[in-house]
């Protein structure tokens, strides 16, 4: 019984804020949501949508041999509508690679940030609420962790771990948890002085119960804002690692990798191999940053007029 009611209470605590945000707000950021939904759609249905195999060269329908490499987009001289955004040096279709590449960016961005959020929030709440030596240890480690620029740290970890999609996820989680910890802990320090927390303690609630039921729901707004603002950085870091050749290994299509492939041709004037994935990264990061900003302002009324 008590479990059911606690679950119910938790949902009541969490969902009104989300409901309020989604249902009752005017000027919903349509554009960012549209971009993110579109990218999600592309990533989920990549196999159905993409016209060609992203990892193999496009074959000529009559001869069965690969078509020319470095074909330009269809609106330029020599371009063909079969490969609307052109082909790369292996005659692979750029559009198909872009569609499949959205999976890498989304998986890495979402799962990496989520994992970082889980670890960081747990550590932040326990450090802030329990205090004492645990707090000291966590915060000193967090400080040391934050002393390394995230890109340098990610590169270092990539040099130690072998490059693969899931290792990149692990790397991002390892790099970004400390951001959550620092912020959540600061918030918990204020929360634990509140009357309802004190009351729960006085009535004999266990420390675990206080943390899960009373502290956690009240940090969720911050977690959500941090989450949405970290995704953009995470996607850029993934793209940077792939660009440097220490991210997702080829021939898997990742946007950063595609940009790196196009660097040589770009100097020869064949811009489309690098520029399209660059635009994709830009749009996705732009959308998540806009959404994050909007959330931040919605959830923090003090910022609304800023």
């Amino acid at each position: 019984m008590s479990q059911i009611s606690s679950v119910k209470n938790a949902t009541v605590l969490i969902f009104p804020s989300i409901q309020r945000i989604i249902l009752k707000s005017r000027n919903l950021p349509i554009l960012p949501i549209a971009i993110i939904v579109a990218v999600l759609f592309l990533a989920i249905f990549a196999n159905l949508i993409s016209p060609h195999d992203p990892e193999r060269s496009v074959k000529d329908t009559e001869t069965g041999r690969p078509i020319d490499n470095y074909l330009p987009p269809f609106w330029m001289d020599g371009g063909s509508i079969r490969t609307p955004l052109g082909t790369d040096f292996h005659s692979r279709d750029i559009l198909s690679r872009l569609i499949h590449g959205s999976r890498v960016s989304l998986i890495v961005g979402l799962v990496g940030t989520l994992a970082a959020g889980l670890v960081g929030t747990t550590l932040g709440i326990t450090a802030g609420y329990l205090g004492g030596w645990w707090d000291q240890i966590i915060m000193r480690v967090t400080d040391a962790w934050l002393a390394l620029p995230s890109l340098i740290f990610a590169i270092f970890l990539a040099s130690v771990l072998r490059p693969s999609l899931w290792n990149i996820v692990i790397i991002l989680a390892l790099v970004f948890w400390s951001r959550y910890t620092r912020q959540i802990r600061a918030e918990v320090l204020a929360l634990r002085e509140r009357d309802y927390v004190r009351l729960a303690e006085v009535t004999g609630a266990s420390r675990l119960r206080v943390m899960v039921k009373h502290i956690l729901p009240n940090t969720l707004n911050t977690v959500m804002v941090l989450f949405s603002l970290t995704i953009g950085v995470a996607i850029i870091i993934e793209a940077s690692l792939s660009f440097l050749g220490i991210g997702v290994p080829p021939p898997k299509p990742a946007w950063g990798l595609m940009m790196a492939d196009g660097r040589g041709p770009l100097i020869a004037g064949k811009w489309w191999i690098s520029v399209f994935p660059g635009l994709c990264i830009m749009l996705l990061v732009l959308a998540s940053n806009l959404l994050g900003d909007w959330l931040r302002v919605r959830l923090d009324p003090q910022l609304r007029n800023r």
Partner: protein
Amino acid sequence: MRRFLSVRIFYSILTLWLLTIIVFTMVRLTGDPATLWTDYPGVSEEDLDMVRERWGLNEPQITQYWKFVSNIFRGDFGTSFQFSMSVTDIYFQRLPNSLLLGATSFLISLIIGVPLGILSAVKVNSRWDSIGKLIALLGLSVPGFFVGLCLILVFGVQLGWLPILGKGDQFFDIRYLIMPAFSLGWYFAGSLLRLTRSSMLEVLGSDYVKLARLKGMPEIVVIAKHAFKNAMIPVLTLAGLQLVLMINVAVVVEVIFQWPGVGSLLIEALLGRDFPVVQGAVLMAGAMIVGINLLLDVLYAMVDPRIRISG
């Protein structure tokens, strides 16, 4: 002040020490470091044994760690495999180039970020404000390496105005410097703009600015003399940190433009499996950040007595 200083220095040393532990464990958590350092096809077991012998990897972890830290303490990060030079020598050979690039990018980001931030705050919710917001957003959303590639395409390839790669023969050659510096400064301009704007807005709403206005001072004096000076304190703090960050996160931009700084050194070392250099560059980056944070803390305390008493 002395107490404050010693506490801060103690924490900085503690942070650096933890950093060495993090780096040391991360390398060893993921398996045998010997295979990390000699990763080429057909490596024989004897070769691995030789590496283990040479690097003392057969010794207990504690002894290894002790050697690792005491070497760092003496400024000895080991010898590079690729260049057969000491890591410190290579690093300091490349550092001036990174400093040059960082300083130029820093100037660019200040020139874009601060005036636009002030303008957006003074004319809040106007068209200037919208432009400022757009630039800040683009700065945070468009990766520097994409900006770099677009610059190469337009100014290097299509127009042919600027050289595409490298640094030129002279130490300071603006034609080689301008594109990488802009790509790097781009991101930081966005965050400087945001901070300048919000800091200015806060100061403009404060009592002493209201008082200055009530006294009938001309608006330009209020903004330049009363608001600007005070709004710049947090901005300069961020700027100081950014200067150090720029030197260290320039990796991708340096690779694109083949700029011979510490960032491209890190990648060359990484791709060449030159582990001592990677480790050294990472530790140096951490040390620089810890150092600048300490410096900023101390400067802050000198300016604001409240901090040194409570801290």
